[in-house]
Amino acid sequence: MQQDETGGYGVRTGNGAAMNIIETSHLSYDYIRRDEEGNVEGTTRAVSDVSLSVKPGDFIAILGHNGSGKSTLAKHINALLLPTEGTIVVDGKDTGREENIWDVRQSAGMVFQNPDNQIIGQVVEEDVGFGPENMGVPTKEIWERVEESLKAVGMYAYRKHSPNKLSGGQKQRVSIAGVLAMHPKCIVLDEPTAMLDPNGRKDVIRAARALNDVEGVTVILITHYMEEVIYADHVFVMDEGKVVLQGTPKEVFSQVERLKELRLDVPQVTLLAYELRRSGLPLPDGILTADELTEELKKCR
């Protein structure tokens, strides 16, 4: 666990500020509640004093129960929301300065939960070309970008299809390609698999990992599926608007009890290992894969 000693949670150690793709400093956000006349009734603090940083090329996961503030935090990364207090700097640009907003949105793309809400084109390749076209990319290059993006998510064979005939997982991959075609440095996936079946889920996660591994795009994945998190470089766990736990998946998932308190889970294999240990087998904490469990059980023999 890496927590700084100033009492706040979070700045990962060892990086200079200039290297980070995302850097938040004491970021807080208040939702404003209004009555029917539009008068302010009160505020709700959704994100509270979050200071964290993300290195370029990392695969980051954000966990947290419903209402913990993770989506609100994510929406700051491409300036859909601006901090009430504190700052967030994305790829060297402070989102709070209006002249930076378009640069920020080009650096950080976002994919949301519902695949049906984010596809606009009549044909898959048109949909993917929409972003770069809006950025004023020359036509020839748009087609190149469309091709490479669709290939990266494994949807090139469907380029002439109508999006509304695709499955949920395929639609999500088209949405990811649409963001990718804008050549972002960072892509934020806000529960991209929540509405998908197991196969669709696997394909979307595979696509996200490929972007990260092959293209070097920084990925921020928000999810309720613990199994999707085990390959992340770093995990942040949020509760009541704060980052309350962070570390590698192994470090985070070692804390089964703490995660349960936070309304979360651990991967099934981790839970099984935890149960076996409670029944007396000498297994270590934070086992994340079936292979690890097999090896550890062999040692028990």
């Binding site: 209402g67 929540a194 197991p198 979360l264 099934q268 099984l272 028990c300 023999r301």
Partner: protein
């Protein structure tokens, strides 16, 4: 009081150039008091099947009977069927609309023309069954958390006092605790009231943990209809149709391949733990 489907087929757009056979020759029975899981990948026909259960769709071919009577007979009381077979759609909280929680749950039974006391008694019972705290009855449903909203929506259907409750992915979008609470509550109310529950789910773990029978749909057919142990024994076939076995099943297969004498048909964490402990003990090394 069982619901029976005999050789039911349904074709979308039968009068067009491209008819789609959404259901083909489905035969199954939903008896009283059973907890059933319905799984299948997107487009396998699950939702079409579910809509046949309370007469929202008329089958192109075949017979559906409730309590022995054809539900598509001219004078069959459809309204009664719809209270007997309650359907909770995906994201049911999108269908909340009343000014407060209690009125929302009262809406269904009120429409049945029941006296006010009966309506309120039913609403209260339904909210109790889903574990919704009484102090929030007068709160606007829109100010609740996702999990609470979903409870209210489920209570709205329970207030109709159905004999069969069909839930289409009741835990989609909820955090793990919210998921466990909703499923635990459903299992509890099934036990309490003796109704049948049909749970449509994409989570093999949830299905393995809660249901006693699994119906697997593929391309409009029933591929498997059996107890979880048996169904999840067909790992290969399930994968071929875009599904999977619960994760513990894979772990156990891996252990078996590595020479551990475990029961690969265990489907829950507890069963897996027990079979591993047993295998270790029998080896005498633990």
């Amino acid at each position: 009081m069982s619901l029976k489907l005999e050789h039911v087929s349904y074709i979308y757009g039968s009068d067009t150039e491209l008819p789609v056979h959404a259901l083909q020759d489905i035969c199954l029975e939903i008896p009283d008091g059973q907890f059933i899981g319905l799984i299948g990948h997107t487009g396998s026909g699950k939702s079409t099947l579910v809509q046949h259960l309370n007469g929202l769709i008329e089958p192109t071919e075949g017979l559906i009977t409730y309590d022995g009577r054809n539900i598509w007979e001219k004078d069959f009381p459809k309204k009664e069927l719809r209270s007997n077979v309650g359907l909770v759609f995906q994201y049911p909280e999108h269908q909340l609309f009343e000014v407060d929680v209690f009125s929302d749950v009262c809406f269904g039974p009120k429409n049945l023309g029941l006296p006010k006391e009966e309506v309120e008694a039913r609403a209260k019972r339904a909210l109790e069954l889903v574990g919704f705290p009484e102090e929030y009855y007068k709160q606007s449903p829109f100010e609740l958390s996702g999990g609470q909203k979903r409870r209210v929506a489920i209570a709205g259907v329970l207030a109709m006092q159905p004999k069969i409750l069909v839930l289409d992915e009741p835990t989609a979008g909820l955090d793990p605790r919210g998921r466990d609470e909703i499923l635990g509550q459903i299992a509890h109310l099934k036990k309490e009231t003796g109704i049948s529950v049909v749970l449509v789910s994409h989570s093999m773990e949830d299905v393995a943990n809660y249901v006693e029978r699994i119906i697997v749909m593929n391309k409009g057919h029933v591929l498997f209809d059996d107890v979880p142990r048996e169904v999840f024994g067909h790992v290969k076939e399930l994968e071929e149709v875009g599904l999977a076995a619960p994760q513990v099943t894979y772990i156990l297969h891996k252990l078996k391949d590595n020479g551990f004498d475990v029961d690969v048909n265990a489907t829950t964490i507890r069963e897996a733990r027990d079979t591993i402990l047993k295998a270790m003990k029998e080896e005498g090394r633990c």
